[in-house]
């Protein structure tokens, strides 16, 4: 299964690095440019983190932008169920990471794209895989 055929969640760092055009991670910018080739879910925890990192005007511009490709991006403001958080905390996730993992689980998303190489790696039993942006691009091009 490729990310062309299944929904993905982009971690906040992918959005932020992509918008910053950070030179250390150019794949994040390239991935944002190719959002129209993906189906992206944006869960509440990621939305709240974007709210903290973007000004109101920037956030409005981002939402307007995502509205240009409505078939490819779905925002979800629903909170994670406490049992989902506990499930991932039991597996060894910190609270915030457990919230993100819980979102993926509840949204039935099987791929997380993140530049945080430590995030969730080494934790067994996760129902999704994590890729860095460069790996996601490679899957898109395969």
């Amino acid at each position: 299964m490729s990310i062309r055929d299944e929904p993905v969640v982009l971690d906040t760092n992918v959005w932020i690095f992509g918008l910053r055009r950070h030179p250390a991670v150019p794949a994040c910018t390239a991935l944002l440019e190719r959002l129209g080739e993906l189906t992206v879910a944006v869960p509440r925890q990621i939305l709240r983190e974007l709210q903290v990192n973007l000004t109101e005007a920037e956030l409005t511009a981002l939402f307007r932008l995502l509205g240009e490709i409505p078939d490819h991006v779905k925002l979800s403001w629903r909170k994670v169920r406490p049992e989902s958080i506990r499930k991932y905390q039991r597996l060894g996730c910190r609270l915030g990471d457990a919230a993100v993992a819980g979102h993926l689980d509840e949204l039935k998303v099987r791929v997380l794209v993140t530049e945080n190489r430590h995030f969730l790696r080494g934790i067994r039993g996760l129902p999704f895989r994590s890729l860095v942006a460069a790996e996601a691009l490679a899957e898109l091009d395969a």
């Binding site: 906040t12 760092n13 932020i16 690095f17 992509g18 918008l19 910053r20 055009r21 950070h22 250390a24 991670v25 910018t29 944002l32 440019e33 959002l35 129209g36 509440r44 925890q45 709240r48 983190e49 903290v52 990192n53 973007l54 000004t55 005007a57 920037e58 511009a61 981002l62 307007r64 932008l65 240009e68 490709i69 909170k79 994670v80 406490p82 958080i85 910190r94 609270l95 915030g96 990471d97 457990a98 919230a99 993100v100 530049e115 945080n116």
Partner: protein
């Protein structure tokens, strides 16, 4: 301008359904790319003003990690 737009509109309606769909997708894609570039420039200008544009990837990841913990603690207390 109006004549030009009318000419373009006539060309669009002459396309078959699949071609029209492809055209609108293409227009949406171009509009998205232009908007993304504009938003990115806006964000980078603010980072520059705040002397944050040069932050390393690791610094940014650390900051985001802290934000994640603080937001989750607020959203899911106890």
């Amino acid at each position: 301008m109006t004549a030009k737009v009318e000419r373009l509109a006539a060309q669009v309606v002459a396309l078959d359904e699949d071609e029209q769909r492809a055209l609108w997708e293409c227009v949406a894609g171009l509009s998205y790319h232009r908007g993304l570039r504009r938003l990115s420039e806006q964000y980078r200008r603010r980072m520059q003003r705040q002397n944050k544009l040069g932050h390393s990837a690791e610094e940014i990841l650390d900051r985001l990690r802290r934000d994640r913990g603080a937001i989750a603690a607020h959203e899911y207390p106890g």
